[in-house]
């Protein structure tokens, strides 16, 4: 029984079928990849899953619960968190505050509690800081806690996005090109980091990534999109040798060349 179950998901923008008939089953604890050339519809899939767009058709189920029709914050509360391809941090706020906002949806104290600094509120805020510092530790950002998010180097911003998403205590984490803009060393560290959070946080991850080395290395199963259509799905070895995938990436007739 899979944790995240996507059936026949489709959306059109005007005449453009950005995603059509997308299916995906993701079991607890797994790490799957979602790849495809530019404009294939990968990010659009994430936007559908997180409620940014309403699908034209199809259903999304998380742990047996249908997510269709829920608003984005409700989907986050249900346990689906994401990072953004075009980094969307809270730029003026500190690194710590960015992560604390991720914690917000699991807090229980009220506005009145906050205004009166009720003992419960104070304890909750303290526990929150502790938890956030722990997350920053995991993502190698501990010494940057008080810096403004927009002043961080690119790689750090990407990791902060992950820390913030983890703060929402998700069941499933959607990573949209977490390695984009990172150098070789950072990518190598990221690889270890993704494995680590998968294990330590009991997570389930769906990963969009253009770096084939990274995807092929850490994913057990890969779905390939092209022009919104799933053209291949299977183990890294399988999709790598699928002529359709080769064609999609190289725009050449099947079997012309290997995928890099």
């Amino acid at each position: 029984m899979s944790l995240l179950s996507i059936t026949d998901l489709s959306i059109s923008f005007g005449g453009l079928k950005a995603v059509s008939g997308f299916n995906l089953e993701l079991a607890q604890g797994r790490l799957q990849g979602l790849i495809g050339p530019n404009g294939a519809g990968k990010t659009t899939c994430f936007n559908l899953l997180t409620g940014v767009y309403a699908p034209t058709s199809g259903t999304i189920r998380l742990a047996g619960r249908t997510l269709n029709g829920l608003r984005p914050h409700q989907i986050a509360a249900a346990g689906l968190a994401r990072t953004f391809q075009n980094i969307r941090l809270f730029p003026e706020l500190t690194v710590l505050d960015n992560v604390r906002i991720g914690c917000h949806l699991r807090t229980r104290s009220t506005m009145a509690g906050a205004l009166l600094r009720s003992p419960f509120h104070v304890r909750e805020e303290r526990a929150m800081v502790e938890r956030c510092r722990g997350l920053l530790e995991v993502l190698n950002l501990a010494d940057r806690a008080d810096e403004q998010a927009r002043n961080l180097p690119y790689g750090d911003q990407r990791r902060l996005e992950i820390a913030r998403a983890l703060a929402t205590q998700p069941k499933v984490l959607l990573l949209d090109e977490p390695a984009a803009g990172m150098n070789t060393q950072e990518k190598k560290e990221l690889r270890g980091l993704i494995r680590q959070i998968l294990r330590d946080f009991g997570l389930t991850i769906l990963l969009i990534e253009h770096d084939m080395g990274l995807v092929m290395d850490i994913c057990e199963f890969i779905t390939v999109l092209d022009h919104g259509v799933t053209i291949s799905a299977g183990t890294p070895a399988h999709v790598q040798n699928d002529p359709k995938v080769v064609e999609a990436y190289l725009g050449a007739p099947a079997g012309a060349e290997e995928v890099a």
Partner: protein, 390 residues
């Protein structure tokens, strides 16, 4: 894994809890008492009047910061909420005073805290600290704040669901509607007509707010004490909000609404909450404004007045509470100080704004507080203490 709440551990120094909860209110009382008993008696009436307006404007600028500064929504109807609070409180104090104090005149019936700065104790007729008149006044002000908050809810709920700048348009319309409504009310029942005042049921009096003539002869209860009590409480509430999870949720909306939603922030809820809270404080400030000048005229509360408060928070830095306090103070006092150069006043004022906008487009402090600015922080650190707020 766990979709449980942030785990909250059992103990955590709950010993000082009541103190921690209440000290800002004690501080607010101290500030208010200081202004009333120490500052007030040492200055003439003109200065006191300017200080009263400074306190009222601080309240309005700081409350507007919650909407425009925290959630990044653009309200240009803050004066409208002020008008609602002012009319409700002014009307209640005026007509209730007529009922409760069986005197032919609508006069002041307050205690020492509501006595103007020129009050000198009279041994033959000692004033109590608080009198029955003060209780009527406090109740009326709270009613004004609550009605303004209710108006904020009615305006905000449908508007703030929408993305974009609808709030600006709707609040602009709201301000004008408020003006038209109050200008359409019936003639004020003057205190010279004591009989009519007594015979008219309260709910009918509620509609006799003077119309286009304005509502006059409101007893003057607002003193430096009440004005600075309100201003201090507003500042404390805004600071506590800013440095807590609900406040950060509000600020995240302004920073990036899409990301805020994706992180689980119910953006509509927090926009509405910020707006309602801001309307409440604006209503209270409007109430005290009415009780300090003794009259209400709806035409004075249009969007031009709202722009005064927007300029204050833009100058102070959107989201900076200390910035809003400073800007409200300066922009209240400066025009008065320049009054003798009356013809140059508006020029100087405009030039100042332009210069600051060129040198610091993010406002004086941006989103940060005075004590969070680099130089100040280093100073505080050198003094051996980190500056953590509220």
């Amino acid at each position: 894994m766990s979709s449980q709440p942030v785990s909250v551990k059992g103990s955590g120094g709950a010993g000082g809890a009541p103190l921690r909860m209440l000290w800002p209110f004690a501080l607010a009382l101290a500030v208010a008492a200081f202004m009333h008993f120490v500052v007030g008696p040492n200055f003439n009436g003109t200065v006191v009047q300017v200080l009263l307006f400074a306190g009222i404007n601080i309240t309005l600028a700081v409350s507007l910061t919650m909407v425009n500064g925290f959630t990044g929504q653009f309200s240009i109807g803050h004066a409208g909420f002020m008008a609602v609070g002012g009319y409700v409180a002014g009307g209640l104090v005026y007509y209730l005073s007529a009922r409760f104090f069986d005197s032919p005149q609508i006069a002041f019936h307050g205690g020492i805290l509501s006595a103007g700065a020129d009050y000198r104790p009279d041994p033959d007729h000692p004033l109590p600290l608080l009198s029955r008149g003060d209780l009527i006044m406090i109740g009326s002000c709270l009613a004004g704040g609550l009605v303004a908050a209710g108006a904020g809810y009615v305006v905000g709920l449908p508007t703030l669901r929408l993305r974009g700048d609808y709030l600006a348009i709707v609040t602009l319309g709201f301000g004008e509607i408020v003006r038209v409504i109050f200008q359409g009310t019936g003639p004020q029942v003057l205190f010279t007509k004591a009989q009519e005042m007594r015979d008219t049921p309260l709910h009918q009096l509620a509609w006799k707010l003077g119309g286009a003539q304005g509502f006059n002869f409101i007893p003057i209860y607002a003193t430096l004490f009440w004005v600075f009590l309100l201003a201090s409480i507003t500042v404390a509430a805004a600071l506590r909000l800013k440095y807590s999870s609900p406040g950060r949720a509000m600020i995240s909306i302004r920073e990036d609404e899409v990301a805020a939603q994706a992180m689980g922030v119910n953006v509509t809820r927090y926009k509405v909450r910020a707006f309602v809270l801001a309307s409440f404080f604006a209503g209270l400030a409007g109430a005290l404004a009415a009780l300090s000048i003794g009259q209400m005229n709806a035409s004075a509360y249009g969007f031009i007045k709202s722009f005064d408060f927007i300029i204050m928070i833009v100058l102070g830095g959107m989201g900076s509470i200390s910035g809003a306090v400073l800007a409200a103070t300066v922009l209240t006092i400066l025009p008065e100080a320049l009054r003798q150069f009356d013809s140059y006043r508006m020029i100087a004022y405009a030039l100042l704004l332009i210069i600051i906008m060129i040198l610091r487009p993010q406002g004086l402090f941006g989103i940060r507080e005075v004590w969070e600015l680099g130089p100040v922080r280093r100073l505080l650190a050198r003094a051996g203490r980190g500056g953590s707020a509220a």
